[in-house]
Symmetry: C2
């Protein structure tokens, strides 16, 4: 396939059921001729999210469209010239390299080679790949990149929007109201702190009692966190006293951990308070009692960004992103802290993509990381 | 106190902490001169509710105003001419026997001797008593008793209103939508079935798999129940298939049981469904998982009639009761089934109140009853 050699992608593809770190292989795939209604992009940055793991083990309820990819080379022991599957990765920011002859534009306007885009459809082509073939009507184009980095955009796609929308979509808050969240140093947690601070809401932030507690506390305070509590102190008398003496009602809780941590947060909310579960660092269930529900008028619910996408026209998504990007441009909101994993090497000033086995090893490292990491394909 | 001998009451008074059946004694109390701003009522029917037990063991969060009552006779081993406490009982229907000289009226209009009233304030004078001294501004008068029995009124006060309001206040329902409830033969459950049926909502009713299953099923079907399921079959494949084939979405669940029963109901709801906890026949906690909250957009909350009273003016309460009573008058709503416990004896055609010890024995029987019972003071 010499004529399409320039349309190659190195991609992680799901090819069997099982634990996340074992159920993908890396393939060099030939992308073939670009269909007239598609665009070819190179991925700049791609997130490594808990949802990737959930999709891998089969409990992330988004449709997956397995397709046949033409294999040029692979890390898979089963050598074959076809692989049926889909590319891993649910979040990324990409740059357009080729445009099909019949492309009309992205969801929010014209599209040109060199534009940065946010892909929304990951059914077949995920973000853990050097390149992807996308339906432009499932991408948003960022025409004005002034003051924005790819890092801003990739983390705004899910975590930024989640933090932004959760403060608007759950309950009405007033300046002076309090919010409590566990996993406060998560990506969404960092955005929640900042958006809350901008709106005059106060945040109580629960983080793990680990060696880097002071360092993470400082980072969160820098973002605007009002109060920081160690997870080990959530049930203490000191915490109960602190909560009882707040200057405003503790109306809203965000839970991305589960189990005892979630139960404790629900217990601290004011009468009529709401706790939102948007993640599950542990898979421990969330437990509350009838008196909490009845007498304290407790409300528990979930939040999933996909529901926002499903229930709102794309013009609304664009408005939300524009609002977030404007706040980033003006410096009012910082993008979340990511540790980057480079998928390329630089030797003698020349950049080259990691070889297949090294590429896979880096992805396994990313999956196993305890820190928030993202993949960098382009320097 | 010969001059006030006619203002005596036989009443169950809380006088020590402990298990419900042991922590009240029966007293004959002298009510003394009626204050100018109060009314004297005789209680006709009084409910025996789970909330009485919750208040007794100290987890029902309503203020209690202990006052000193003048004791004439008592079942208490500690004989004394005063007892400090409050009269048991949070629901009843009463008849006015005397009106203070300075009384202006009830919350909804003029009040006269012989009127039936619903008392709302049970801080000191509860309903487990032959008589009570009430603030008329905490009572609602039923001027038009045409087509109404005391039984209609006593069960409408809490359970009727709970069923009525829960269908209006939680989420918006459309005809054809489905509701599922456990404890469907409870008082509120019976009203939920009827109000739902009137509005065109369909009900799935879970009841215990006991000897009287067929009898209770028939009663619920008579009230308008669409589907009846045994609690032992809630997790079965048959039930899952049944739910998957419903003609409308299963949007709303009502839980008055707790534990596994509640968890199962939450599991059966449609995407975005809401489960409301309004009671706790077991005190087992309610447990849900992050995927239920996030991917199924599950919402859990409580409902407590007291919040409705606290958050709405009494004119709104009156409107709700009038609507319910009109439906009862027209025969569209039947009052819940109660087993009555007579607090009097009839010998040779002459009615007389049960003696102190027998009076207490009947109350203990009422507390221990597994069926829904109410106290009848007046034939």
């Amino acid at each position: 396939m010499p004529s399409q050699a320039h349309n190659l992608a190195r991609a992680a593809i799901f090819n069997k059921a099982g634990e996340f770190k074992d159920n993908f292989e890396v393939y060099d795939i030939a992308l073939g001729d670009l269909p007239a209604d598609r665009i070819l992009v190179e991925n700049m940055l791609s997130s490594v999210n808990p949802s990737d793991m959930l999709r891998s083990i089969g409990i992330y309820p988004v449709p997956v469209s397995n397709i046949d990819f033409d294999v040029v080379a692979t890390t898979s022991p089963e050598k074959s010239n076809k692989v049926n599957g889909n590319i891993v990765g649910l979040e990324g920011v990409s740059r357009v390299v080729k445009i099909g002859s019949n492309v009309k534009g992205a969801i929010n306007g014209d599209i040109a080679v060199g534009d940065w885009v946010i892909p929304f459809d990951f059914h077949s082509y995920g973000s853990w790949s050097t390149h992807a073939v996308l339906d432009p009507m499932n991408t948003m184009v960022i025409k004005n990149t002034n003051g924005l980095t790819a890092d801003d955009i990739v983390s705004a796609r899910i975590n930024g929007l989640t933090g932004y929308r959760m403060l608007k979509d759950i309950i009405e808050l007033k300046p002076g109201d309090y919010i409590i969240q566990n996993g406060a140093n998560s990506g969404a947690g960092q955005y929640i702190i900042q958006f809350a601070h901008l709106s005059g809401y106060k945040t109580i932030n629960v983080i793990r009692d680990r060696g880097n507690f002071e360092q993470i506390s400082s980072m969160l305070r820098y973002l605007g966190a009002d109060i920081i509590i160690k997870d080990t102190e959530l049930e203490s008398e000191t915490t109960k006293k602190l909560i009882s003496e707040l200057s405003g009602p503790l109306k809203l809780g965000f839970n991305c951990i589960g189990g005892k941590s979630a139960d404790n947060i629900a217990n601290l909310l004011c009468h009529g308070g709401t706790m939102v579960t948007y993640g599950a660092m542990t898979f421990d269930p969330i437990t509350s009692t009838a008196p909490q529900y009845i007498f304290n008028d407790l409300r528990l619910r979930g939040y999933w960004m996909n529901n926002y996408f499903n229930n709102n026209p794309s013009s609304e998504w664009v408005k939300s992103y524009d609002a977030i990007f404007d706040l980033m441009r003006s410096g009012k909101i910082k993008s979340q802290h990511n540790n980057y994993i480079d998928m390329f090497e630089v030797n003698d000033g020349r950049k080259s993509l990691l070889e297949l086995e090294k590429f896979k090893a880096k992805l396994v490292k990313a999956v196993e990381s305890k820190e928030k990491v993202a993949l960098r394909f382009i320097k």
